[in-house]
């Protein structure tokens, strides 16, 4: 059982790391600001989400697990709002980037 949970952790955390890699590559390689924003949100949502998912079996206690999920939800909420604000400010600047 323990080994199985460890495998879940390794797989999910690695998948999360891949999304951070993808987000960075996108941020560097995509041609304009809006597509870069698109890449960033993948790392924000899925990268952190998968890391949280992978860590759930590792923390002890329901409270710590709950805190993990709460942190992810918080990052989601903030990320969604900030991305929307960044996109709007770009539109106001007339897509100068």
């Amino acid at each position: 059982m323990r080994a199985l949970l460890d495998i879940v952790t390794v797989l999910a955390v690695l998948a999360g790391a891949v999304f951070f890699l993808a987000g960075t590559v996108g941020l560097l390689r995509f041609p304009d600001s809006l597509t870069r924003l698109h890449a960033l949100t993948k790392a924000d949502n899925l990268g952190l989400g998968l890391v949280v998912l992978g860590l759930l079996p590792q923390v002890d206690g329901a409270l710590a697990a709950l805190k993990l999920v709460a942190i992810w939800l918080l990052a989601q909420l903030a990320g969604a709002t900030v991305s929307q604000m960044i996109a709007r400010s770009m539109r106001r600047d007339g897509q100068r980037a």
Partner: protein, 83 residues
């Protein structure tokens, strides 16, 4: 397991650090804010991975960081807008 989590934390940090090149290159302020945002998320992920190794208090640090990063990001977009 702790070595794996620490190594992954290092990898994620390295990734978001490479993303910081956008602070240098811009060109728009929006791009700079994006890389700071990515760094914030990466920092939270690294703290969580550290907490997974059993270090105490890191979850609370990540919680605070998530709140304050959101606040800082809002303040930034707001100021960038006003210019």
């Amino acid at each position: 397991m702790p070595e794996f989590l620490i190594a992954t934390a290092g990898f994620i940090l390295m990734m978001v650090a490479v993303g910081l090149v956008r602070i240098l290159r811009g060109p728009a302020n929006a791009d700079r804010m994006m890389s700071a945002q990515l760094l914030g998320t990466g920092g939270i992920a690294a703290l969580l991975l550290g907490a997974g190794t059993g270090a105490s208090g890191l979850l609370d640090a990540a919680l605070t960081l998530a709140l304050l990063a959101a606040f800082a990001a809002v303040a930034f977009v707001n100021s960038a807008d006003r210019q």
